[in-house]
Structure formats: structure tokens, C-alpha cells
Symmetry: C2
Subunit: 400 residues, 2 copies
């Protein structure tokens, strides 16, 4: 198979059988497709002894809108290679790649079916004690080892080229930084939100801050990012946290991944007002989400600093105080990007089920208003945040 | 000739004759090599009617240290392509490429022999009224058209890959940001300067600021830079200003080129104290250099703003006030990089004839001490410079 062809279940099964090595020779296999994304096919192939693998294949177009929106297959190469790079330094929290075929845009991955997607779990009010620590470990470790602190300049430049990802970056550039801040056919919000959107789109200070975030997204290749750390890209159970789906990976600002993750926790936070009626339970979930945000920030900082103090290879970046100063900038970027995630998930093209799944119209609207408010304030105040306590205070002032 | 071979005059002549098109068919040509750099051969080929061209060939090693320091021939491709890109938007101030052969690392250029190299002219106390305006035009125009303001994100990412230049960037990374700030065998300064160097290398605030400048050099691909804008890369006469030699070109922080140029004017400024004895003449030259720096900064700002206000294609970067904010950052970077140029040209590997050519030992040492002082203060105070008047005041406080 030297040319791309989109698989059906039979073809996926045949491909795996021809490869061999995943199952016993006489295993009876079954295969079904269950992708709910709009960009890829996802097959589960299992034997009758509970052994299973995932075969993911990129489609040459965006599925939801038919074949009219072509999309590079190269993203399968990017995704598999980001997973390999991230897995090499943070095996515990990166889904394992078992095979890749760039021509077919196929990646075979370990099956994480025993875990659950974080977003659904949070929507059901479930909590995961290790989540903040684990995501912090993933973000700090992958960011450090693929940054100027650790890579030689030549290694870094070669990787920047390998992970140049114009088509998928372009989606982020449009959806995060352009569409929500001006009238766009791709925007999506209820009529009742229109007055808020009009105000947002007329707020020059906000648009200026977003322009700076976009410029940083364009021209700040600090580390090899995941590029799409939302609650749908994280598998969890009470002990385990695994990141999947880094097809938006590229060298960008470290604060982008960090801010995206925190933004998703905050989207769930505002959504819970419309999801959980019982006040004590809602308080518990709110407390959990805020404490997870705190843990993420403090563990990220602590782990990145520890790595920088012990393993920085660049001479100049070893200078006392440098990493601390660097991490203030990362935090400010993260706060800003977090804000853009709240805004774009509320009025842009791609929403989150946390909010959209609220059944009561008024409660859903209230959550949207709050997400939009918190998002804008985070963007506007990001540059005044100098440490994680500043961020906590800012956040508490916005959500109470 | 499908394999690299280093030319002598006869081979250079033969190559030009085989190409054809530069001279009349029956022209009597002569060819001589006159490169004084340490990385390249430079031949002048002329007929007896005053027509001439320059053939430049990269050597696969650094000439000054023999064949022991290999250096990529790819820099000839980079140099020719930067000249083509820069020439496409700023023909008036970019030397013209007539032919390129990447395999042979050969570029044929228009002969600028009727002009003179700026450094030698400044060393003789000569002044050029258009210099600041012209260099500002070159820097503003090339930076704008090869930045996120103007390029589409996909065009930009493709060019960043095309102009990835690890080996020559590595030279800058070492010589500008590492060597001068720690003991290094490559450093070069008189014993009498040792106490100043020891203090400099123990100055933590300075080293921290330099680490930030190095990190920005690593990870801020704002525009396609020349990468080596010193007084030896500029041909001038009273009407004309032409930039040559962008083999260090890459996508980097716009302030680097701007700061390098201003740094070279300041190196000449401090050198003139040891060069011109007659006070009125020295004052004139000093006034000229300061006013050229002023013109460079104000014209750069004005021209970049004008381009941004009229030709920015990115939607978010069109936001009112964005370019003004961006240019404050560029200015601060420029002030810092200017400081590193003064420091590295005084105590690092590569010096400038402006200072080294001062005959009197004491006067030369005084110039070195001043260059080192001004350089450090610029690095330390760069972040407090908010506009070009702040910079003027800072500069005047340091040199008077």
C-alpha cells in the first residue's frame, strides 16, 4: 500500500493482520470504527482475550463539512512524531505509538479504552486527584526537553523544521485569534449573547492584547507543543493521565498548552453552575477544579525550574534568575491564552459540551455570559500577573 | 561543474566566460582575487571598458584558521537568497545578484567598486548624509515585508525553513552571547582591560539581560534578517548606500539588525576619541554619528509604521496600536543587541579596526574601556527605554 486510501473496518483489519505482531497468529479479531472527531477515522481492533489496539487514520478533508475542506495528511506524521518525542521524555503521560505509516496517514496506538475522556468525566462531576500534577508533569517535561534550555541550537532548528505545521496552525490562528473578535460566518452563539459579542468586538484594549497573543503564537518557537490540550485530548482514571491527539503540534509558546488546559478546567467550572443543582456537590466540584488549576501551575513551575536548574545545557540560559524570569512570561502567556480559549469556545466555531450540554436555556446562557466575561478579563489582565498567587486572586475576583 | 571545487582566478574567469552574457563576446577580461574576509573568495572580473562583476565563492572552511574549522557551503545559498528577497522589496539598498550556483557556492554580484566600505570611510572621519535614512529604509522595508505583518502564515513558515541557518547562527550565538561573559579562549583583549572584564563577567544583572537577548535570538523569528549589519557590510558614497554579505541571514528578532548597525556607529564614536586630535573636527564627526543614529531610529520607526498602517495583511495585527507596541519591543531589543555588539567587538574574538587601528596604546585602551562601559549600560538599561528620546537621553548620559 504505497498510496493513500481511506480505510473501512475490513481494510483496517487487513492492514493490521498483514503487519503482524500485535496479536496471536490464530487470534479471532474484530474491528469497528468509533471516531467522533471530524478529521480522522479511529478503529478499535481486538481479539477475544481482551487484547486491543487503536488504528487512527487521518482523512484528507474535514469530515464534518464533507470533502469540501481539504486538510493535509501530513498531520498524521506530525501527530505520531510529537507522541514519540513527548513519549521519550514523559512516557507515563503520553499515549504509546506502536506503528506509523506516513503514506497512509496511519498510526497504531495503545488502546486506552480502560480509561475515560476527561471532558465527559468532568461533565458528570467526577474528580481525579492526580490530574493537575500529571498534566503539569507532562507540560513541564515536554516543554523543557524540547526547548532552548536543553536542545542544542542545531537540534532545535532541525526539529522546528520537522514540526512545521502550517495548515493546522492556521486553524488555531483563525479560530483562537481572529474569528471571535470580528464578525465571522464561522462564529456560533445564540442571539441572546449578541449584545455581549458586540461589546467584545468593539473592545480595542482586548483586541490589542489578542493581537499580541497571536503574534506570540506566530513567532515564539519556545518548545514542541502538543498544540491542542483540551479536556477531549486527555484520558484519565483515578491513577492515570494520558495525553492523546497532538496533531496541532508545533514549536510555539509554552504558555499556549498550559493556558489551553486551564481554560478547559475553567469552562467546566462555569458550566457546573448549570449542571449541578445541589450546592454542596457543586461547591466540591468547584473547589476541585480551582485546586487542580493551582496544582497545575505550581507543579509546572516547580518541575520546570527543577529541570532547568539541573539539566540546562545552554550556557547563557544557566544564568541565575533566568528561568524564573522566563516562567513569569510563560505564566502571563498562559493566562492570556486561557482567556482566548474561554472566548473562542463560547462564541467561535468549536464549542465544548461542558457548556453546550447544559439543558436549561437560561442556565446555559448564564454560563456563556460568565465564560465570556472571565475570558475577556483574563486576556485584559494577563500582563499584570507576576506569579501564581496573582493569578489565583485575579481568578477568584472574577468567578465569585 | 556539478561538484564543488574552490576557484582560482583562472577558474573563476573560465566559469564566467562559459556562462556568458556579462561581457561582449570579444572582450579581453582580467580577473583577480581580493577577498579580505576569512570565509570566502572574492574575484573581480573586468573588461578593458570598465565593465566589471564580482564573483564570490564560499570556502568550505574558515580561511583565517586554515581548513581546521569547516563551515557549511550552504551559506552561499542563504546569502544569495536573502539578497534576492531583500532586493525584491528594497532594490535601492541591496547589492544585485546576477547569478547563483548553490553547488559551487558561487554568487555573481554587481561590482560596487565605485563605492567604498563604510568602516574605512568612517575611520577616516568621512560622513555620509544619507546613511541613516538609507539604512533605516533597508531595515524597515526588509523587516516589514518578511514579517507576520505582511507574509501569510504559510509563506512565513516556508521561508523560516528556507532560511534556517544553524551553523552561522551558532557563530553569533557563541560570539555575541557566550564568550564575552565568561572566560573563553576565543576572547581577545589586552591585559590592561582584564580588571574590567573580570567585573563584567561577575555582573549577574548583565548576564541575565544577555541571557534574555540570547533567548530572543534563538526563538523570535520576527523577520528575515540580514544578520550581520556592521560597517564592513555597507558600501557607500555620498549618494548611495548598499548592503552586502547577508550570509548570517535567518528569521530572527528585528532589533538585532538595528542594534548591530547602531552599535557599529557607537564603536566608531568611541574610537574617534583616539583617532581625531583636532577637537572641532572630532566634535563634527561625533555630532554626525549621533545624528545618524537618531535618524536611523526615527526613520526606521516612521517607515515601519507607515508600511504597517497601509499594508498589513494579518487581521489581528491590524489592530489600532499594535504596531506601536511592537516597535517599543523592537527598540528595546535593538538597544540590548547594540550593547552586546560593543562588548563583543571589544573583548571577544572579532574586533573592529575603528578601535584596534588606534595607534596610541593609551588612547586605544581608553576607547576599549568606554566601549565596554557604554555596551554594558545599554544592555542593563534597555528595558527602561520606551521611545527614541529615552534612548538619546540614555546615550548622552553615557558618552559625555
Amino acid at each position: 500500500m504505497n498510496e493513500y486510501i481511506a480505510f473501512d473496518s475490513a481494510k483496517a483489519l487487513e492492514y493490521v493482520q498483514q503487519l503482524g505482531g500485535f496479536f496471536a497468529d490464530d487470534a479471532v479479531l474484530n474491528c469497528y470504527e468509533f471516531g467522533d472527531g471530524n478529521l480522522n477515522l479511529v478503529f478499535r481492533i481486538a481479539d477475544d482475550s481482551n487484547n486491543s489496539i487503536i488504528l487512527k487514520q487521518a482523512l484528507p478533508y474535514a469530515r464534518r463539512v464533507g470533502e469540501s475542506w481539504p486538510l493535509t495528511l501530513d498531520r498524521a506524521r506530525i501527530e505520531a512524531n510529537v507522541l514519540l518525542k513527548h513519549g521519550a521524555v514523559c512516557e507515563a503521560h503520553t499515549v504509546k505509538v506502536l506503528h506509523q505509516n506516513d503514506t497512509l496517514a496511519v498510526t497504531i496506538l495503545e488502546d486506552l479504552g480502560h480509561l475515560a475522556i476527561l471532558r465527559g468525566e468532568l461533565n458528570h462531576g467526577k474528580t481525579f486527584p492526580n490530574l493537575g500534577r500529571d498534566v503539569a508533569t507532562y507540560l513541564a517535561t515536554t516543554a523543557f526537553y524540547y526547548s532552548d534550555f536543553y536542545l542544542t541550537p542545531a537540534e532545535k532548528k532541525a526539529l522546528v523544521m520537522e514540526f512545521t505545521n502550517p495548515e493546522l496552525c492556521s486553524i488555531t490562528e483563525d479560530l483562537f485569534f481572529d474569528d471571535p473578535y470580528r464578525p465571522s460566518e464561522r462564529n456560533n452563539y445564540p442571539k441572546a449573547l449578541a449584545p455581549e459579542v458586540t461589546k467584545l468586538q468593539a473592545n480595542l484594549a482586548l483586541k490589542l492584547a489578542v493581537a499580541k497573543l497571536k503574534a506570540t503564537f506566530f513567532s515564539s518557537p519556545q518548545a514542541l507543543l502538543h498544540g491542542d490540550v483540551h479536556s477531549g485530548s486527555i484520558f484519565v482514571d483515578v491513577n492515570t493521565t494520558k495525553l492523546i491527539d497532538p496533531e496541532f503540534g508545533f514549536f510555539g509558546p509554552i504558555g499556549f498548552d498550559l493556558g489551553s488546559f486551564i481554560g478547559n478546567l475553567l469552562l467546566n467550572f462555569v458550566a457546573q453552575n448549570g449542571r449541578i443543582s445541589a450546592l454542596p456537590k457543586r461547591r466540591d466540584v468547584h473547589t476541585y477544579l480551582l485546586s487542580t488549576i493551582q496544582t497545575t501551575l505550581s507543579d509546572f513551575e516547580q518541575q520546570f525550574k527543577h529541570l532547568a536548574h539541573t539539566k540546562t545545557r545552554d550556557l547563557a540560559l544557566q544564568t541565575e534568575g533566568y528561568v524564573e524570569s522566563f516562567l513569569v512570561d510563560v505564566l502571563q502567556d498562559a493566562v492570556g491564552y486561557c482567556g482566548t480559549e474561554l472566548v473562542r469556545r463560547t462564541i467561535g466555531l468549536a464549542h465544548v459540551s461542558d457548556i453546550d450540554g447544559i439543558e436549561d436555556d437560561n442556565k446555559r446562557l448564564a454560563a456563556q455570559v460568565q465564560a465570556l466575561f472571565v475570558g475577556q478579563q483574563l486576556i485584559l489582565n494577563a500582563s499584570s500577573v507576576k506569579n501564581k498567587d496573582d493569578f489565583s486572586q485575579l481568578l477568584l475576583s472574577l468567578i465569585q
